[in-house]
Symmetry: C2
Subunit: 305 residues, 2 copies
């Protein structure tokens, strides 16, 4: 039989994990994971949401950089998936928090969309269902954690339970007040079990949110994304900002730190999250699972068929 797989690719060489403090990607003065990490004393109110911290390039180079991450993101995702298939227990959890229009959906499409959908477990957290409300607030979150080998993506998350729940008085203060520590303990266990959590707060400005909502009202293909409640929620903007401040102050732990990403420029937010996700995957130092069989024996068995 003539072989028609002469175009076989060589085994891909393992990319080396970059060290935590190593050189960042091209265009970054310092690694995104460092620049965007929430420092002590971080002030939500004065955070510039049109800035592009750490990145020296412009929009077109930023977009090119996201696309250029595709191959490495894909390969590392596949290694993670392979590890999960071969008995590994690790996974990665990307948590996307942000006000309406902050661009969470676009990040899922344009960044998470770079990898094999087979290896992605995406979950949106809307207002809890009747069943979910009967349980502890972390119940639905625990059930949504990625299985080994998967990249889990939370579009909103358990942080809604200290954001909207606090601002809209959905539960009494003594209830949401306890949740910060509960979340910290919960996340500590997740990380200890082998799932790093990439926590991203996408910070859009009040003005940019108005523009984006206005666009949804201008375009019939975006009506479905518009909810009149979104305008009502704008009157609570300062309260939401306070709730974000408290969230960042109280859940920015060593094992599961927050990153704040200015979100008024969609291209930058996407670039930033692609860098953060890539960084988390690189830190896992993923190899390919070794053969659990005798390769030469199997080659002979196969050839005999």
């Amino acid at each position: 039989m003539a072989s028609h797989s002469a175009k076989k690719r060589k085994s891909r060489p393992a990319k080396k994990a970059t060290s935590a403090g190593g050189a960042g990607s091209p265009g970054w003065a310092s690694p995104a994971a460092q620049v965007l990490r929430v420092p002590d004393g971080f002030d939500v109110a004065s955070f510039d949401r049109r800035s592009t911290p750490g990145f020296t390039g412009d929009k077109s180079s930023g977009r090119a950089a996201v696309a250029a991450h595709g191959a490495e993101l894909s390969e590392l995702q596949e290694r993670l998936f392979a590890e999960g298939r071969c008995g590994g227990s690790r996974s990665v959890l990307l948590v996307l928090q942000g006000m309406d229009t902050a661009g969470k959906g676009g990040i899922v499409r344009h960044v998470v969309g770079l990898v094999d959908p087979q290896g992605v477990a995406h979950r949106s957290f809307a207002a809890p269902t009747a069943e979910e409300r009967r349980h502890h607030f972390l119940w639905r979150v625990r059930r949504s954690l990625p299985r080994p080998g998967y990249i889990g993506v939370f579009d909103r998350s358990h942080y809604e339970d200290v954001l909207v729940a606090r601002v809209e008085n959905l539960v009494p203060p003594e209830t949401w007040e306890k949740r910060y520590d509960e979340i910290n303990r919960f996340e500590e266990k997740i990380v200890a079990s082998g799932t790093p959590i990439v926590k991203v707060a996408l910070m859009v400005s009040y003005e940019e949110q108005r523009e984006r909502l206005a666009e949804r009202l201008d375009r019939p293909d975006k009506f479905w994304k518009y909810d009149p409640n979104d305008v009502d929620a704008r009157s609570l903007w300062p309260h939401y900002q306070d709730a974000y401040q408290a969230m960042l102050d109280r859940t920015n732990t060593e094992v599961a730190p927050w990153h704040v990403v200015p979100a008024d420029r969609k291209w930058f937010a996407r670039l930033a999250v692609s860098e953060l996700l890539l960084d988390a995957l690189r830190r896992l130092d993923l190899g390919w699972p070794p053969a659990t069989f005798d390769v030469e024996v199997e080659k002979r068995r196969l050839a005999a068929t």
Copy 2:
């Protein structure tokens, strides 16, 4: 405030659904959904698995055609998703069946990967778990059906229950014998509820499977995909082909017809499935959900914030 959204896109014009018998995509002598549909009297044994039925182009034009489908697939997926968010009940289910190495995973990556992962519900059906075995064989399938608005993707499916279950004698003949009709009734209900099913049998040849398994043994980054049982299963090849023949004979219904896709050329199989998925989405004649609010009132409310 200076508007920084002057670059706003116009509302995208609705693409017209092509009629069932209309002109196919460029490069297709007849629409893929017609050419690949299993005809009466279809013979598995004589099916040429390196052929590219209906497509007049070559590998590079085939690959380009898949990429070119990305924009339309994405838009139709988003319309479906929008409809689901706005109370619609429809979804689409893509069923991928095929022997080991037939290329199911590559189709998920390269075809399903063209759309927003947020709108995809992917499910692999491995050997049933202990819990799954305690239930009717369709129990785990029913729970995995896509919710409204989603494109569900089954990598293997309930058809394993008339394939491996039959060939490997996992259940007595009287059990698998009944399943064909059970499946037909099950699928009829799914389609009636608003979920078209795109059933694809990826047909790889015995020789090509050997090549692909050999590649997994040659490349350390593919060891994880190799299972020594795959070689044992090759000794049952004729029995599997018979089981595929019976499956196609007995579950090729009017409401949920089978398509057979020659899979020895990966590029063709990907192209074919992209055409079939696109065809299913086009037939839904998806629009954008209308506004459920007064657009002008909302514009004024928003502007006042």
